[in-house]
Amino acid sequence: MSNEAAIQSGAIAHEVQEQADIHHHHESFISKYIFSQDHKMIAKQYLITGMIWALIGGGMSVLFRIQLGFPEATFPWLEDIFGHWAKGGRISAEFYYSLVTMHGTILIFFVLTAGLTGTFANFLIPFQVGARDMASPFMNMLSYWIFVLASIVMLSSLFVQTGPASGGWTVYPPLSAIGDAAIGSKTGMDLWLVSMALFVVSQLLAGLNYVSTILNMRTKGMTMTRLPLTVWGIFFTAALGILSFPVLFSGFILLMFDRNLGTSFFLSDLVVNGNVLPNEGGSAILYQHLFWFLGHPEVYIIILPTMGIVSEIMSVHARKPIFGYTAMVASLFAIAVLSFLVWAHHMFVSGMNPFLGSIFVLLTLLIAVPSSIKVFNWLTTLWRGNIRFTVGMLFCIGFVSNFISGGLTGIWVGNSTIDMHVHDTYFNIAHFHIVMGVSAFMGMFAGVYHWFPKMYGRYMNNTLGYIHFWITLICAYVIFWPMHYEGFAGMPRRYYDYSNWESFKQFAELNKVISFAAIVSFLAQLMFLVNFFYSIFKGRKVTSKNPWQANTLEWTTPIHPIHGNWPGEIPEVHRWPYDYGKDGIDFIPQTEPVAPGESGDH
């Protein structure tokens, strides 16, 4: 403890110095809005960059849903926009495969990893642990701008003549390694790899910063057990990223070598287009192990921050402490550890030894235990609460609903026996879109609506928010629920056209319905974007520091927090963040000292 105190007093001295600087500190446009080192500005930069990517990635899904829903129809305007990629007004097969590949890459990495964690980790960590900024604001800025660089490279790959990568977001070699195997495996694939390598660098810089800020920069009294669950969620996410992204990086480097330097890490015994290739001795399966060693933790990298966000917002608006704080942290920890031990459940039918597969079945179903604990704890948090349906709260409920639906089908696909039938079918598509696509977006929306007043000092429009929520929730289920049935028919994913298949063509009508719902859902997201940008400038103004009557530290800063967050000293923390409804008092902020006669600790 004495150590911690020493560190903290050191940090405080540092802060006082910094505070003195702040008053004389005049920011230019560039240092304030572009190369900003302020965690709040970097968070907004991540958020808006993420929104641009979500628009592109979501728009791609609308395009390929047009093809899947209306394979016979022609839309001349598609040719007007995309030229030979949509010759005759019909999306070409090459274009289709590029679209599905980039849709996955963009949404998983650029939106739900960088956009989501980048926004809320940067925004909330310093606020909620009580720090003036990140441990290294410069490194923080650097991580954002390397992400921008990665974005530019990825974006440019959309415009090369042979098109962007098209071998699926997992880019399995040999398909991704050999230019002759697919046109997307030519220049587009090199750009994809360069972009992703930059992306990994950006994520490592960001992750190290998050972890060191949480461990070292907490204000006085803010012990680890008094951290809000948002910070815990982000902490484990950052740890997962730091430990697993380097493995993915190594896989990408080896793939680059195979592509450009004639090595054979992943290649062996190949005849492509009638040409016998010289590569021998590599293993295509090795790449899959390297990829999924990140690939599986990746889904938890996406979902853990939203679990934290949902826990926090749900507690605030149910006016009740989160149920089982310790169990919530423990299950986050268990998920984080186990997520490293389940990767090969993506490979049950890859030709991997079936005995090895059985071990991964065991570990996969094990990881479902902490997930179920979390669901039951959220339900109990709602029980006997006094629930205010703010838009953020609605999205939390949507999150839990989707997390249940998608989590339960995880028990299906995690069991190798069932996976053998539904692997790479629409059942799988439904499963992971619901559990980490829709759920993560729900959590992200909850966070945006909830912390928008802190970000911009204004509220987003409620009516538009309610409409956004209900359309999104209904469309999500209309899109993905029936896909389970397509999976029950064994209908494979990533097919451009099903009309020649006796076993799958009966779903033509259903595919129309799904595509229609996807388009409506996309329009609802546009409404969210309009609401967001309109409200930045014209939204209803926030008039009190703590509009939600919440306990956490960010609501003790001024409505428009300065660079450095608190004008005076950083407040001291005296309690955990979930004293809602304790001793009949609606809420007791963390800065409130324990009153004499107050009932015991939680």
């Binding site: 305007w77 097969a93 190949l270 005849v271 016998v276 059985s358 609460g385 069991n415 069932i418 049935y485």
Partner: protein, 356 residues
Amino acid sequence: MTSNEYFIIIIALLVFIVIFQIAKASEFVSILRGEKRAEKQSNRINGFLMLVFLIGGLIAAWWCNHVLYDKTLLGVPAASEHGEHIDTMMWITLIITGVVFLLTQILLFWFAYRYQESDKRKAYYYPHNNTLELIWTAVPAITFTILIAFGLYYWFQITGEAPKDSMEVEITGHQFQWEYRYPGKDNVFGRQHYTLVDASKSNPLGQDWNDVANHDDLHPSEMHLVVNKPVKLIIRAQDVIHDVGLPHFRLKMDAVPGMPTTLWFTPKYTTEEMKKITGNENFVYEIACDQVCGVGHYSMRGVIVVETQEEYDKWVATQKPQFLTAFPNGLPSTTAGAPDATGLQNSTVAQVEGQH
């Protein structure tokens, strides 16, 4: 763009603007009427919608099942014994997860409706309860153990050794087609090596013609299997990863270049029987590529014909060995310019046996 499309876009834009204006106006109204009152009203509306969504959602789920059930394989018996195990496993899992699904979703939306904000109620301070938490750690853990036990019991049966008397068929994927090879009368697959692949010389599978075992190997255009006779597939790929997906048998296995894989099963119904079972005149057993393999992935279709032993024997008698297609006049003395294959260690059978 056609005028029709312009029309749709204009309508969509108008709807958008109307919604936006209403939303803006509703905010002004809420400020005029007092924010507290407006908040209470929207709270009631959303609380009610929670209940509507729950009930509507459950009805919609039932309806969805009603409409789609017959289009899936849920009502069609699995065409292999392994598939029956997989179906059993699916139903067990469906019942367990279905109960949990109903329970948790009903609680979620019911709680949301029931405990919406009211001036009369104070939230109940309830930070934790060790007994409850222990219960919902233990119950899922036990349930999952049961599911794992069933799952692995079947998994090891499915992936175990093929019976000794099973017939063997080799299936090879390349962009974007399946090739089949039967060992012929001698029941032995001849040696092959990927460097010998040359479709222009009628050798798409890289067979080594120096090996006499190759001379009677058949290379038909579709796969024929005998009903109730176990079959072991030896699965190969030449260029990228493919996947032999057999929805009616409920099975799937990747085809990986440089690493042959295997899959065995026993077909239970002939194609003719399945036509009756499914009530579909045009029924065929289809092989669907289930691992994205390039631009023609969606068209990589194969057909399996399951028939009686008699029909199968008749069919085999009509097939000509690939060797005779490549060399109608017998093997020339120079062995077709192929490298000396005696040193090649790639004998199909030896390598496949070594894998498992």
